[in-house]
Symmetry: C2
Subunit: 501 residues, 2 copies
Amino acid sequence: MARVTCPVLGRRIATAEEAAAHIRPGDSVGISGFTGAGFPKAVPQALARRIGEAHARGEEFRIGLWSGASTGPSVDGALAEVHGLDKRLPYSSDPALRRLINSGEVDYVDAHLSHSAQQAWFGFYGPLDVAVVEVAAILPNGLLVPGTSVGNNKTWLDRAEKVILEVNRWLPRDLEGFHDVYYGAAVPPHRIPIQLTHPLQRIGDPYLRVDPAKVVAVVETDAPDRNSPLDAPDDSSRAMAELLVDFLRHEVRAGRMPPGLLPLQSGVGSTPNAVMEGLLHAEFEGLTSFTEVIQDGLLDLLDAGKLASLSATSFGLSPAGQQRFLDNVGSYKGRILLRSQEISNHPELVRRLGVIAINGMIEADVYGNVNSSHVMGSAIMNGIGGSGDFARNAYLNFFVSDSLAKGGLISSIVPMVSHVDHTEHDVHVLITEQGLADLRGLSPSDRADRVIAHCAHPDYRDRLRDYVDRARAARPEARHTPHLLEEALGWHAAYLRDGRM
Amino acid sequence: MARVTCPVLGRRIATAEEAAAHIRPGDSVGISGFTGAGFPKAVPQALARRIGEAHARGEEFRIGLWSGASTGPSVDGALAEVHGLDKRLPYSSDPALRRLINSGEVDYVDAHLSHSAQQAWFGFYGPLDVAVVEVAAILPNGLLVPGTSVGNNKTWLDRAEKVILEVNRWLPRDLEGFHDVYYGAAVPPHRIPIQLTHPLQRIGDPYLRVDPAKVVAVVETDAPDRNSPLDAPDDSSRAMAELLVDFLRHEVRAGRMPPGLLPLQSGVGSTPNAVMEGLLHAEFEGLTSFTEVIQDGLLDLLDAGKLASLSATSFGLSPAGQQRFLDNVGSYKGRILLRSQEISNHPELVRRLGVIAINGMIEADVYGNVNSSHVMGSAIMNGIGGSGDFARNAYLNFFVSDSLAKGGLISSIVPMVSHVDHTEHDVHVLITEQGLADLRGLSPSDRADRVIAHCAHPDYRDRLRDYVDRARAARPEARHTPHLLEEALGWHAAYLRDGRM
Ligand SMILES: CC(C)(COP(=O)(O)OP(=O)(O)OC[C@H]1O[C@@H](n2cnc3c(N)ncnc32)[C@H](O)[C@@H]1OP(=O)(O)O)[C@@H](O)C(=O)NCCC(=O)NCCS
Ligand SMILES: CC(C)(COP(=O)(O)OP(=O)(O)OC[C@H]1O[C@@H](n2cnc3c(N)ncnc32)[C@H](O)[C@@H]1OP(=O)(O)O)[C@@H](O)C(=O)NCCC(=O)NCCS
C-alpha cells in the first residue's frame, strides 16, 4: 500500500540529498524524535554528509538543532561527528554530542520538555527555518499519520518556514489511531483550559496537519527506530522497585492513594522499568499511566491486563519490546495514546491527574535537593528532560538511584549536590537500594537525618552524619539547613582530584 | 450593624481566652493570614499567654502552626517569644520566629504556596486539629464574609476538626463582594479543569463555608492588620524598574508581548513596587494583574485607570495604602478579587494566563540559578513563598536585586549560589541596578558572560570573569557549566570568615 497518497505532496517526493539541500548554514532545524523513536532516518545523514563536504572545502556550516528529546546516532551522532551543530535543544542523550557540549563547542539549552514548544511559540529561540518530521503516511487530503513519537512535531510543522517530511515504510501503517494531537494550544492571552480529565481521553486529532505550500520535499525511507537493549533488572533495581511498590501499598492503606493508584509516570532506565515489573506481580488493578515514554514494563502491564490506559509522547522500547509491539499493533490500539510533549508533560494535567512520578537521578544531598543532569557540577549527562514537569506537579514523586556510583568511588548521597535540578521543595521520596526516605512535611534538618539513615550507603553514612553534626555545631544561629561551605562540595572536589570521594 | 447575624453561631460567642482553651499541646493549628493581612488578632495572643503560663508551670506546650503565609508580630512573634511552636509552615517572615527556626528550635517546612493546601488535603502534614480564621462577618445563613486575605482559609475550615472564628469589626463590612472562593477543588482522581481564563473571572463564591457543628468559638475583635511602611523607591529600585519597563516595551515592539502586556505578578518589596510606579508613568493601558499580594503600586495603577483588573489572595499595603483602600472600598469593588492561594498561585492558571512574574532574590549565580531564601546557604530569610509557582509557569519572569548587599561586602552575583530555589531552567531575566541580563534560550556558558557583563557590580566583575575563565580552562572536558568546586562557594565562606566576599 502506498504511504504517500496525497496528490499534491506526492509531487514533492525527493531524495534525502535533494531534501537536505534545502537546509542552509546557520539554519535552525526542528526535527522529530523522542527517546530514539520517530526521528528522521535519512535527511540528517544526508545533511551530515553535506556539512562534512562543506567543511572539507573550508566552508562554515553549522546549524541549530531542535528536537522533541533524544534522537539516534544517525542524527545527533552523525551531526556531532562532522561538527555540524552550534546549538541544541531541549534534550539529548547522545554520547558523541555530549562530548562536544562538554567541550564547549555546542551550546546546549537544557529545558523542561513541557516548555520547549511554548518557548518556540513565544519567540524565545528565534525563527525556525526548517522542520524535518518523520511520519507513517500522508493521507489523500494531506493529513499526516504520525509515527512512534509526537514530541514537538506539531509545533515544528506549524512554526517552520520550510517542511521536509520523511515517510517511513518500516513504521506500521496501523499506527493510524494511536495519536491525539491537541490543536487547542494558543499563546497567552488566548489560552483556554485543556479539557482532559483522564489519561486516555481524546482532546485532539489523530493526525498532524501541515500547510502543503511549505513542504519542500517528501523523502521515502524504510529504517527502524533506535532501540536500546534493556538491562535485566539487577538486584539493586529490584530492591528499589520493591521498596517503591511497598510504599504505594502503604499509602493505599493509609488512605492517601486510591486502590488503583493514580496515573504512573516513569522515567527511562532500568529501575523505573523494574518498578513496572514489580507492579506486574503486585495486587493493584486498573492502573493507568500518564507518562512521557513507553518502556517495556508498561507493555507488560498492558498485556497482563493490569494497566487500563496509557498516555505518552513516545515509545522507548527494547528490541524485544519493539518486536512485541509491531507484532501486536492492533491489540494496543485504543489502550495507548501518543500526545505532543507539551500535553504529555503539561503542568496543568500532571497536577490535575495527580501523577505518581518515578525518575532516576545522578545524586541527592542530605537535604533532598536532586541533581538529574550534571556530573561533578559541570559536565552534562543528558539534561533535565521531563523530570521537572512531573516532579514539581506530581501528587507524589520518587527519585531513585543506587547509593553508590563508579564502583563505590562515588556516593550518590552527598552533603550538597554539585548542581540542583529539583529543589528540596519538590522532592517527596528518595530511594536507593539501601532504603526509602519519605521526606514529605519535614524540615531540612529532619530530612538530613532520614536521608542519611535510610538512603546512604553504610560506607559513607558516618561521614555524612559527621558532616551534618559539625555543620549544626559550627553555626548554631544557622541551623535551618546546616552546611559547612568550605566542605560542602569537598567530596566532589576530592573525586576530581583523587578519583574517589 | 452586628457582624454576627447567624443565630446558631451567635451562641458560640466567647472570649479569646475561652477560645484558646480549645487548643491543646501538640495540636496542629491552621490560621488565616497572608502578608500581614487577615490574621486572627486575639486568639493567638491568648494562646501565647496560655502557653507561657503552662511553661511557667513546667508543662510542655507547643503547637504546629499552618498559615497562608506571613502573619504579624502578635501571631508568629508572640508564639515565638513563648517558645510555643515546634513546626511552622508554609511561609513566615517574622524576625523572632526566624531566629528560632535558624537556631534549630522550630521545624520550618518551607513550601510552594500553591502546594500547601493540596498537601494538607493529601494528608502529607497529618491531621489538622483546629482552625482559627478571621472573617469580616457571619451572615444569617452561617456563610462567612472573608477578610483582607483568603490564603488557605477554605482548606483550614474544611479540614480542621474544630473551628474558631474571629470576627473583626475593624475590617470594612463592605469587603463582601471582594472574594471569589473556588469550591471546585478536589483530590485526584476527581479533579476537573479550572475554568478561569481572565484574572477577574468569578469561578467561585463570595463566601467561605463552615460546618457550624465544628465551630467551638466565635470571638469578636476590633484590631488592624499589620502594615509595613513602604520605603520610597531609592535610585537603585528606580533604575531596576526602568530597565524592566523598558524591556517590556522592547518585547512589545518585538511582537513577543501584546500592547496591554500580560497579567502582572509582583513580589513584595520596594523594587517590585517601583516597577508598578514605573508602569504608572509608562504608555501601557488596560493592564491586568494576577498576583499574590496587592501592594500600594497596584492601587496606584487602579486609581489611575491603567490597571483594569486585579486578582490576588491578599493585601499587603502600607499604612497610607491601607487608609486609601479603607476610605474608598466601594470604588475598588468589581476591580479586585481575592482568591484562595491555591488559585492565585495555581500553575495551571499562571501558565494559561501567561503571567509576567517579578520577584526579589537574595543572590543569583553567573549561570542564572537563583537563591530566594537562604543567607549563606544555611540561614532561612523568609522562604520560597510563591516565587516558584510564578517563575516556573510564567510567560516571562524577572528576578531583581541590588548587585551588592551589606554595604558592598557581599556581591549578589556569585560564582555559585549557596542555595538553589529556582534553577537555571526557570530563570528568564536577571536585573540589578547595573543592568539587565536576558537569559532566554542561552546555554549556561553564554549566560555567565551576560550575567557578569550586565548584572554584576563593577567591583566584583573581574573576579567573576576570572572565576569562569579559570573554570573553563581547568576542565576542558566539562565546560557545559564551568565550575571550580574548591572555590565555587569560597566567596560565601570568605564572608563568614572575614566579613566580606
Ligand atoms: C539521572 C540519569 C542520568 C540516571 O540514569 P540511569 O540510567 O538510571 O543511571 P546510571 O546509573 O546508568 O547512570 C548514568 C551515568 O551517570 C553516572 N552517574 C550516576 N550517578 C553518578 C554520580 N552520583 N556521580 C557521577 N556520575 C554518576 C553513571 O556512572 C553513568 O555514567 P557512565 O555512563 O559514564 O557510566 C537519568 O535518569 C537522566 O538522564 N535523568 C534526567 C532526565 C529524566 O529524568 N528523564 C525522565 C523524565 S521523563
Ligand atoms: C529575597 C527577598 C528576601 C528579598 O527581599 P527584599 O526586601 O527585596 O531585599 P532586601 O535587600 O531588603 O534584603 C532582605 C534581607 O536579605 C539580606 N540580603 C540581601 N541580599 C543578600 C545576599 N546576597 N547575601 C546575604 N544577605 C542578603 C539583606 O541584607 C536583608 O537582610 P537584613 O534585613 O538583615 O538587612 C524577598 O524577596 C523574599 O523573601 N523572597 C522570597 C519569597 C518571594 O519571592 N515572595 C514573592 C513571591 S509571590
